[in-house]
């Protein structure tokens, strides 16, 4: 399940909905990761652009990988502005046993940071500034810049 919201995430509601959806699915482990916007470098908040078609195919590939281990992944992300101390990102893994969930949440979140087509901007004094230094080039980037 991939959920996109305009603005900050309602953390208690989302975690509760996911819990209630799976509470009788016989999973022994539910491991959520909640990402919160921190106050640092004078930002008022963060803002996000998302390219949904590739985000969906990226997520579906992870869902298939999780399914092969008897697990499921869920993810929610914000579009647009999210202010300091609000949440922009939640992901979770449900699995029969804890080890699979602990390992999957790690690899899923790391690959999310490296590959999911989402762009982050700092909100500072009414400006929206691309967080270039904190961004990662997707694997295979740069092919159009190679000169013959």
């Amino acid at each position: 399940m991939l959920e996109l919201y305009d603005g900050a995430l309602d953390v208690p509601t989302i975690l509760k909905e996911w819990y209630e959806a799976e509470r009788e699915s016989n999973y022994g482990a539910y491991i959520p990761f909640v990402g919160t916007v921190r106050s640092e470098d004078g930002i008022d908040g963060l803002s996000f652009d998302i390219y949904e078609p590739i985000l969906e195919s990226w997520f579906n590939a992870w869902q298939a990988r999780a399914k092969a281990k008897g697990a499921i992944v869920k993810m929610a992300h914000a579009r647009g502005d999210v202010m300091v101390h609000e949440s922009s990102y939640i992901s979770a893994v449900f699995s029969p046993k804890r080890r699979v969930a602990l390992e999957l949440i790690d690899s899923f979140v790391e690959d999310f940071k490296a590959s999911a087509p989402i762009w982050k901007y700092d909100l500072i004094g009414g400006e929206r500034i691309y967080a270039k230094d904190r961004s990662t080039a997707i694997a295979g980037s740069g092919i159009l810049g190679v000169k013959e």
Partner: protein, 73 residues
């Protein structure tokens, strides 16, 4: 016509151009001064699938997307 879209922070309107492969697109975009840095660090998708080689034929109606460095979460 092939549609070329520039995603996220690349401030450029989409193009509609007559090209038959990604090598032709590379040559055209390399002439655009504003795109030089983005070409070096952007991934390329054809019809919403990431490609890792320029040896990709393009057909009428195809969509090419440039994806600059990402940072979700």
């Amino acid at each position: 016509m092939v549609r070329v879209e520039f995603l996220g922070p690349i401030q450029k309107d989409a193009l509609e151009i007559e090209i038959s492969n990604l090598n032709e697109l590379a040559a055209i975009l390399q002439d655009d001064e504003e795109l030089q840095e983005w070409l070096k660090n952007s991934a390329v998708a054809v019809n919403d699938k990431i490609v890792v080689s320029l040896d990709v034929a393009l057909n009428d109606g195809d969509k090419v997307s440039l994806l600059p460095p990402v940072c979700g979460g």
